[in-house]
Symmetry: C2
């Protein structure tokens, strides 16, 4: 054990002059950083969207070891500017159209700063009552904005919890579903449990199933087709489930998606739930990207049938102006989550928990420690208000429609699947029936555009077709960026055609 | 599908005047918030440490629904001040001695702000190269500071990853261990796998085992004893493993702890690894709290034997000045993690990943989306430097020694277990052999102190003994707070004795 008396460093007492949490130093550095971040946003449009660095670039710029002595914030900021910014892919650029958006906002950033400032660890109610209660409240607020059935809200014996990401939300609900059934039929049946999604379902489902100990051969990625817009067909689900049951397997969990990652396809929730109900399957609705749009009445119908699902999640950090990470999960039966995920170590026992009058979110998620994430969601809801939030989302959809029209006007291109939300899947029209050269050409076109740094898009492959995904939702994107982006696409097509 | 033409709200074009990510509005609000947070720290000492609110208090202060129209930040901040601050347990108060610390710092807060500002989603290298490469670099820096065997560092074919919390780190390594063995012997053997810890191991292990599909009856919490300072005895492990093997079960995973939550006990890593090696058991070292102290040479011996472990984690957000969340996990064989946790959906395919020259951290953790957490760790390491960081930790240990001496000088109290780091476990000396009334008295003493708001401590129960845990590590704590805290304890003892 360390005896402090012998340590020369401490005898020098060099530590006594530094207070690492001095409020005036925090004020000084904080103001510096705010200006740094505000300037970043002011100029983010000028950055190449996708980082242009090569693998291993950063180790050439930084020392091999941590410094022994303190370095001033000014020097560190200079390094951030010189070495980090070039290595960032600028998700907040108005010319960012890749993957799905990570739509930031002033309110989201401010909210994150406040929770960072308090730096509480809200694992149970007692450890910071406000963190738990604000989460209860905003999850009911948002649930009402989405017109979720009352059974998903605290006010109706369900409830919401903010997870980090959809991967966690799926893993927690899958774990709850698994234990609900295994507690009845015996743990040895774990090898018979089957998990269902489509070939368009996010890889988070497969990963969650792997982590939860589901036999990989019992994971079903049911094939979808272009003819049904890549939605999961209830008939296909029915056939797959029947065949599993005949084989002596036990259907466990279905993840249906509202707005798939590849093409924003929507699985028909109602008919899928009807089948699931007959087999006692837990249905989770993953609306990671598109869920937020359902606060607009004209999109709400995509959730029709949700009353028969067991759980529902969306990522407020995707398309709802809340910085990463903020996955909103609602469940009808919190008891099932708690049954699977609770542990009650002595060191956390307290009167409030024992009284059962409070929510202890540690039992609704994987981790014990949890950040005060509801703060940023609360700030987003209040700073903009429901009306503006709807209109922000609509403005993205409107821009996607514009892009779709631009694609439609150029006979060299085609929109590959119908647009549902604010993403357009397009490609250069094939001049041959042979898929491979067409895919290769589109792939090279995409790479040449991304390499230019002028905009950033990503791709999907559906039914063997390589499509370019143009996802609108970066908060700073305006119509002029969309128009300019389309011109860049056209220019690159011409340049690439000339190279052939 | 939503047609925008018919929507009267959008026709009003009310949205066009608001840019939710306007850089000047961010600057204005950001400066406001920095002052708010700096003022919070300036005055945090005056707050009652444990929140004094009653369950359900917040719903009485806030409206039932989200507002339709925007509200100004000044009004929201007023609500934070009036309604949220009273509901917070002030983990950053210098009088916070509960659980383990969540030791914030200016550098940690600033680092978190920068990553919030960039708001990138660093799931793979391509999605933000700097986020991945900085994490590679700082994890090697910190690994070297801890004198981890080279086999745990990138420079030695191992590597480090920043997870959210220890729960995730354990779940990921357990999942890797499970799949490594099941891929050899068949998935049907999952029901035979056994997980080992002690009765002092953090509940995160049990929870991870539950989530990973380990049969709850195959979870072993091996009994520890006061006579061996609540460390896990190698003999007990050996006997337990032998008996499992004889019963046809398969030993899978051992979690050994350096600094248990109850009493900061240390399991003897070397001898435990020797046994584990004979049975092919994956050994994870959980040093969530105490790990950071091992950057001081005089504490490093607690990690002796680590060269035979498979993985090691510590929470930089606990006792290393890095805001929540920041769990540093090192593994010797990243391939085992990747094998268990990787998914390779088409939409993420890119040349850098295909080239296998980069790290894609999505395959090292549960979630796909991940925050740029290395930024704050980098800022902490650079802003303070290794020498100061060691001395900060030593100053906490020194204060714990002081508190231990104060307890020792008062014959009414006793230190229950030897102090290893910066936590003292003490209680009022029993005047009877009957445990229950003594425990009850100490429990009531603790509750009366916490209720006063003057300081906050929590408890543990070991071998049936209720102990009060005095954990030093809140960054603002100085010697005067420790001395004052001890006086409060004495005063409450006297008051409680008078009440009998």
């Amino acid at each position: 054990m360390g005896s402090l008396n012998i340590d020369p460093e401490l005898q020098n007492n060099s530590v006594s002059c530094i207070n690492p949490l001095d409020s005036e130093e925090l004020r000084r550095q904080g103001h510096l950083i705010i200006d740094f971040i505000a300037d970043y946003y002011k100029n983010v449009e000028k950055q190449p969207v996708r980082s242009q660095v090569e693998p291993g670039y950063l180790s050439k710029c930084l020392p091999k070891s941590a410094p022994n002595n303190p370095e001033p914030i000014e020097k560190i900021l200079q390094d951030v500017h010189e070495h980090i910014v070039p290595g960032i892919t600028h998700w907040q650029s108005p010319n960012y159209f890749a993957y799905f958006p990570s739509s930031g906002s002033v309110a989201g950033i401010i909210g994150e700063m406040i929770s960072t400032g308090f730096n509480v660890v809200g694992f149970n109610w007692m450890s910071s009552p406000a963190a738990t209660e604000l989460e209860n409240i905003v999850m009911d607020w948002l649930g009402e904005m989405l017109k979720l059935p009352k059974s998903f809200l605290f006010s109706g014996k369900g409830g919401g919890v903010i997870q980090g990401t959809t991967c966690e939300a799926i893993l927690c609900t899958l774990s709850a579903a698994r234990d609900r059934i295994l507690n009845k039929i015996g743990r040895e049946n774990i090898t018979k449990l089957v998990v269902y999604g489509s070939d368009q379902t996010h890889s988070a489902l497969q990963k969650a199933a792997q982590i939860a100990g589901i036999d990989p051969k019992n994971f079903r990625a049911i094939k979808t087709m272009k003819s049904s817009s890549f939605g999961l067909s209830p008939d296909s689900l029915q056939l797959t489930v029947e065949s599993d049951v005949e084989a002596g397997l036990i259907p466990l969990f279905l993840c249906a998606t509202v707005g798939t990652t590849g093409t924003t396809a929507v699985d028909p929730i109602g008919p899928l739930c009807d089948i699931a109900k007959r087999y006692g399957i837990w249905v989770h609705i993953d609306a990671a990207y598109a869920g937020s749009s359902c606060i607009c009445p004209e999109f709400r119908h995509f959730l029709d049938g949700i009353e028969d699902a067991d759980s529902f999640s969306l990522n407020a950090h995707k398309w709802f102006f809340t910085t990463l990470d903020c996955c909103c999960l609602w469940v009808k039966n919190p008891g099932a989550l708690i049954q699977s995920l609770s542990t009650n170590p002595e060191f956390l026992r307290n009167r409030a928990s024992d009284s059962k009058t409070v929510v202890d979110y540690k039992d609704w998620q994987i981790t014990l420690s949890r950040r005060f994430r509801s703060m940023k969601l609360w700030l987003v809801l209040r700073s903009y208000g429901v009306t503006n939030l709807r209109n922000f989302l609509r403005s993205h959809v409107k821009m996607a429609k514009l892009f779709e029209e631009l694609v439609g006007e150029d006979k060299r291109f085609e929109v590959v699947v119908p647009r549902n939300f604010a993403m357009v899947c397009f490609r250069v029209v094939p001049s041959t029936l042979d898929k491979e050269p067409v895919n290769k050409f589109n792939n090279e076109l995409l790479e040449s555009i991304n390499k230019s740094g002028k905009l950033y898009m990503t791709h999907a492959i559906v039914e063997g077709i390589f499509v370019i995904r143009f996802a609108i939702g970066a908060t700073l994107t305006e119509e002029r960026h969309v128009v300019a982006a389309w011109k860049v696409v056209q220019q690159h097509l011409e340049a690439n055609l000339n190279m052939i």
